[in-house]
């Protein structure tokens, strides 16, 4: 018994340490530019002559290869960076270029922000836009719903909410069956 309780204490301490380690990395709530809300930094490289190429609307081959190495390639069913398959726009707010790619969706066939290439001194930093960016920027146009929370809950993440409702139904059935056992417990 004593070994069991000491084992439990060790497990609790490990869990507390793990949660502290996780909480430390959480971004500040409500910061629109925090990684969880905006974009994740993939890598950075020496700029060289790449800025001129980006100005001309072409992604340099070095950046393209490195993005493919990260796993955003054809094998994993990500849209590729072929010539003419993307657009490059200067984004004044971010201080960098946005790479827009058409995903080929049937009913909403417009280019969507995928990568962001920023100038940081001598280096170019490449970021990957997060999914919430699409919900925040396109929710009104795509779903005619001004409330991004509602469209996120019921439309973009519809399967998730379906599972929640199923859990409620199954829980209600289980509690009802338990309550109606009437002296058989």
């Amino acid at each position: 018994m004593k070994s069991l309780s000491s084992f439990g204490i060790v497990i609790v301490i490990i869990l507390i340490g793990l949660s502290a380690y996780v909480i430390e990395d959480l971004p500040a709530f409500g910061d629109a530019n925090s990684p969880a809300n905006k974009y994740i930094r993939l890598f950075s490289m020496q700029s060289g002559a790449m800025e001129d190429q980006l100005e001309g609307g072409v992604i340099p081959i070095e950046i393209k290869n490195k993005i493919y190495d990260f796993g955003f390639n054809e094998e994993n069913l990500y849209p590729t960076l072929e010539e003419g398959g993307y657009e490059i726009e200067w984004n004044e707010k971010n201080g960098g270029w946005d790479v827009l790619i058409e995903e080929g969706e049937i009913y909403f066939n417009e280019p969507i922000k995928y990568y962001c290439i920023k100038i940081l001194g001598e280096e170019l930093a490449v970021y990957r836009y997060n999914w919430p960016v699409r919900i925040i920027e396109w929710t009104e146009e795509e779903t005619a719903t001004p409330n991004a929370v509602t469209s996120g809950l019921a439309d973009y993440r519809g399967f998730d909410t379906m599972g929640e409702e199923t859990v409620i139904l199954i829980g209600a059935i289980a509690v009802t069956m338990l309550l109606r056992r009437r002296g058989r417990l």
Binding site: E105, I106, Y107, F108, E141, E142, T143, A144, T145, P146, N147, T150, S151, L153, A154, D155, Y156, G158, F159, T161, M162, E165, T166, I168, L169, G171, A172, I173, V175, T176, L179, R180, R182
Partner: protein
Amino acid sequence: MTGGSAIPEEGVARRDVIIDTISRLIFPFILLFGFYVTIGTEGTGGGFQGGTILAAGFILYITVFGAKRGREKIPESVNTFFESFGLYLYNGSGLLCIIFSMGAVQFLNYPGIWPVTDLVGVAGSRAWIIAFMVEVGIGLTVMAAFISQYFDLAWKDEEEMVVRKE
């Protein structure tokens, strides 16, 4: 007015006119507010919150008028039907989206040739499905789940009292 058609029983407190009247007056307004919270895409709230408010209205009625009259208001068959009908409404609309668009959509996104798409456009039909299918379905399921559990607890108390008397 002697407080409805209460059957005087042993061990049951006498009905209060004020509580009876006010709860009967406020009951439809609670339901109306519940539907207001449930339906729609613009305001705060949604299916889960609205369903809880609807259930609160019925629970007030059951608490004041007793489980017997509550059962007359919402019979068990209707309650059970609502409990599964909400989930059916949600899943059915999503499945119809997938079928009508020949599998191009992911559940509810881009509702394809959904009948209202011609009238209000793709984005508008998505808003319609959110407002009148998804949220209402969630609301009905949550409401029925709460009410059935409350009924079970209330009935159990009454039966235990009967057993103790015997």
